[in-house]
């Protein structure tokens, strides 16, 4: 295959290397690839992307309201904004998935119309979507070549595999080209996504919240890959709502709010605090205010609980925990170590194979979800779109979904739609859910607003125990703050809260007691006041208290 010759930005020092076959020359930036470049450098470099006056509206939402954006070769631009600020919409337009209502796009100085992802790919634009674009039942190699231009009628998959191995060695992205996607972990799937772009030699990369699903270590690897690609003269735009990522990944940052650009800064000239203020439009409290810890009687008790995951493999191995009234019990752990199964066993969605679950001293082991709900247990599930809400039903119906069985929402088995609406209006007001109306189908809301709606419904139904699984995952600062405050408010009202989170800072600031899960076992339980991030991190990685790995 013919490769385009590498292009080097001016004013930098490069060494050019070749691999053993003498093909695939690549370059390495000799200057340290850390930190942003001097201001004004952008003027010297080729302008890869320029978007002007981009507008796009969806029913009831102006997602992009005249946004302009530029990207130079060898630059990493961060698009920072809350959920629903219009970041993904803007990038979906650049990637050809959405068509703008108005505005111009120039690529390498030429005005272009990007009508489809195929057009975008032809212009060297590639996007790693938040929900990975991979066909589960196909292999890595098949996914990599899918839809590629100039692919021969009978693709030589062995050559494809060789090239994938080459690329994965060069960028340190190890993955088995013959594995099926469904066999891979989320981190590996992301590597496949990046390999796909590298394989296509895209030089404009769009990464939509790339670290949302990664462990801290995987994030670091990703950062190294991005820096390496930048060194090769590629450019990247990445979407995020995390300030730390902006600081470590980017040269320049653009802050969006409600479909408009509110600020554009060189990363070196700003700090997380300023960015947070710009993004939310007000000062943000990073600490959560809470009343002193005065625990009451145990509400939830687990004794030696074991359960299996969806594939029938052991997920919980003899868990014993207790959560008291007025206590937030934080469950720490890397995703996939039994957290989801734990929450499901407590809420009756998954059968326990062994052990005992009791709520307020009544045994509820393998009781039906309805009987557990009637004991006052509320659940904010991990998967808010599949389990938490019915996408095609209205906001009002979704909000009424727990209380519809009884007065005032229904009487004598007949539901009362006008009371659904009253309830919805009250909750929308109270929880500041941004929705065009009570009758809007909930799937049209942003992730943060769907989560707020679930929270509103569940807190209304919560009598004694609230089980919250990754409640702030994928949410922006404003929504995260609101969710955390609500959890603490429930605790202060004397309810027990089981909070599953992979964000150590969240656990340290919100939880009263922290339990660490690793491979379905409790590695340790201790008061949050005595915990520190390092100790939790070590336990999450399976290190015993003495520093030994189990």
């Amino acid at each position: 295959m013919r490769k385009a010759p590498p292009r080097f930005p001016k004013g930098r020092f490069y060494v050019v290397m070749k691999d053993r076959n003498g093909e695939g020359a690549w370059s390495q930036d000799l200057l340290p690839a850390q930190g942003p470049r001097a201001r004004g450098d952008g003027e010297l470099r080729e302008r890869l992307v320029e978007m002007r006056g981009i507008r796009k509206s969806f029913p009831g939402v102006q997602a992009s309201d005249g946004i302009g954006l530029t990207l130079a070769r060898g630059e990493v631009l961060a698009l920072l904004g809350e959920n629903g600020a219009g970041k993904s919409t803007l990038m979906n337009i650049l990637a050809g998935l959405y068509r703008p209502d108005a505005g111009e796009i120039h690529i390498r100085g030429e005005r272009v119309r990007i009508e489809s992802p195929r057009d975008a790919a032809a212009l060297g634009i590639g996007m790693v979507h938040q929900n990975f674009m991979l066909v589960d039942s196909m292999t890595v190699a098949e996914n990599v070549v899918l839809g590629q231009r100039g692919l021969p009628f009978v693709p030589d998959l062995r050559a494809v595999k060789r090239r994938i191995l080459e690329l994965s060695a060069r960028y340190n992205l190890s993955v088995d080209p013959e594995a099926y996607i469904w066999q891979l972990s989320v981190g590996e799937q992301q590597r496949v996504e990046i390999l796909k772009l590298l394989y296509r030699e895209a030089d404009i990369l769009i990464l939509d919240e790339p670290t949302a699903v990664l462990t801290p270590q995987e994030s670091e690897e990703l950062s190294a890959v991005v820096h390496r690609m930048r060194g090769e003269g590629k450019a990247a735009i990445f979407i995020t709502h995390k300030m730390e990522e902006v600081m470590t990944f980017s040269d320049r940052v653009m802050v969006l709010r409600r479909g408009r650009v509110v600020a554009e800064k060189t990363t070196a000239d700003t700090d997380p605090k300023e960015l947070a203020r710009l993004m939310v439009g007000r000062e943000v409290l990073f600490r959560v205010e809470k009343a002193p810890f005065t625990p009451g009687e145990p509400v939830l008790e687990l004794r030696g609980v074991s359960a299996t995951d969806d594939r029938g493999l052991p997920a919980l191995r003899g868990i014993s925990l207790s959560c008291r009234a007025g206590e937030i019990l934080g469950i720490a752990g890397v995703a996939g170590n039994g957290q989801r199964e734990l929450a499901e066993v407590v809420t009756g969605l998954r059968a326990a194979k062994e052990g005992l679950v009791s709520i307020n001293c009544v045994e509820t082991t393998n009781a039906s979800p309805l009987s557990i709900i009637r004991r006052g247990v509320a659940h904010i599930p991990q998967d808010r779109n599949q389990v938490g809400a019915v996408g095609d039903m209205s906001v009002a119906a979704n909000l009424a979904m727990k209380g519809y069985r009884s007065r005032p929402l229904s009487s004598g088995g007949i539901i009362r739609p006008s009371r659904f609406r009253d309830l919805a209006r009250r909750l929308i007001e109270l929880f500041k859910i941004a929705t065009p109306s009570t009758e809007t189908r909930i799937k049209f809301l942003s992730g943060g607003n769907i989560q707020k709606a679930i929270l509103a419904r569940e807190i209304g139904a919560c009598g004694s125990l609230l089980v919250a699984v990754y409640p702030s995952r994928g949410l922006d600062i404003g929504a995260t703050e609101a969710v955390r405050n609500e959890l603490v408010a429930e605790r202060d009202k004397g309810r027990a809260v089981l909070l599953v989170s992979e964000d150590i800072d969240e656990l340290l600031s919100v939880a009263d007691t922290i339990a660490v899960l690793f491979e379905g076992r409790v590695m340790g339980v201790f008061p949050a006041a005595e915990a520190d991030a390092e100790r939790i991190g070590a336990l999450m990685a399976g290190m015993e208290e003495g520093g030994k790995r189990t």
Binding site: A121, M133, L134, V135, M138, L146, G147, V154
Partner: protein, 316 residues
């Protein structure tokens, strides 16, 4: 030995139309389109094939006519389900109802005046079985070589269909569209084009299966000549787990049951025909049950994940 050979020969002849239709439907479903219009398309294929052969005297023209009619009916289904995003089940069923009714109507109108405008009871050109010299005399496998040209074509078509689906660029696109249209679209595959082409080509193959009935297996036109084969094919696609290479086994099984039925009835058996007719469906149920038990396996061989869903780019 002769009995086995003759049962196998009938099984293959009876199975040929099923294999064509199954291959057609596999291609359609691989693109995520469920076409329940099979029964109607097969009937229309049988009718248009026979009528064309009767008037033109050309079997080749007859086959072309059947292909065209099948493609046209499937194009209606594609338009309704892909462009208009109508419910695939409703659209497919209405094509079956339309096709069956229209075929029956035409069967009473297209015939010559001498036959009171009816096609029923006429005999026209047919595709005769041709024995391959030498090979057709072999015991048992000789049955493979006393078939008509459509069956011989299948011997090449089945491996080609498999190769096309699993080894070519088009096959890769097709599978991706059926599994995950959003991903296929994002990767630059023209989802609409693939869906249209797969549905239309699939419909043409299904109609060819119908034409094989009226031109070879039971030459001539009769009401409901397919005898529910269109529905059997829907089960066969599941039985084949959407793999062209496996389509042949299900078709042989169903064809074999047909053949055994002939033989048993001729010998005056006491096993009711209904019982034998039920067996293939029982086998299908068994496969479905086995597939749910075998969940990890079904991820690789199961139904295309996007089967039955309409796709629109900007919908969440």
């Amino acid at each position: 030995m002769e009995l086995v050979t003759s049962i196998l020969a009938i099984a293959i002849r009876a199975g040929t139309s099923l294999v064509y239709a199954t291959l057609g439907e596999i291609y359609t479903e691989r693109a995520g389109i469920l076409n329940l219009g099979l029964e109607g398309i097969m009937l229309m294929g049988a009718l248009s094939g026979f009528a064309t052969a009767y008037y033109s005297g050309s079997v080749a023209l007859a086959l072309l006519a059947a292909l065209a009619v099948g493609a046209a009916l499937a194009a209606i289904h594609a338009f309704l389900t892909v462009t208009m995003r109508a419910n695939q089940v409703v659209s497919g069923l209405s094509i079956t109802l339309f096709g069956s009714g229209f075929a029956s109507f035409l069967g009473q109108r297209l015939g010559p005046i001498s036959n009171n405008h009816r096609l029923v009871g006429l005999s026209g050109p047919r595709i005769a079985p041709i024995g391959v010299p030498g090979l057709s005399e072999l015991p048992v496998i000789g049955a493979l070589f006393t078939q008509d040209i459509l069956t011989y074509a299948l011997y090449a078509l089945i491996p080609l269909a498999w190769f096309y689906l699993y080894r070519t660029r088009h096959g890769l696109n097709l599978r991706a569209v059926g599994e995950d249209p959003q991903t296929a679209d994002a990767m630059g595959v023209d989802v609409f084009k693939v869906k249209y082409l797969a549905t239309i080509a699939g419909g043409a193959l299904v109609a060819l299966g119908g034409a094989q009935l009226s031109l070879s297996y039971t030459p001539g036109w009769s009401e409901n000549i397919t005898g529910g084969r269109g529905w059997i094919v829907i089960a066969l696609v599941i039985f084949a787990m959407w793999n062209p290479a496996r389509a042949v086994w299900g078709a042989l099984l169903f064809g074999g049951i047909n053949a055994v039925q002939f033989r048993l009835q001729a010998s005056g058996t006491t096993i009711p025909a209904g019982f034998l007719n039920m067996l293939p469906y029982l086998a299908t149920i068994a496969v479905l049950v086995a597939m749910t038990f075998w969940e990890s396996l079904s991820k690789r061989i199961g139904a295309p994940a996007g089967l039955g869903n309409a796709y629109m780019r900007e919908e969440k």
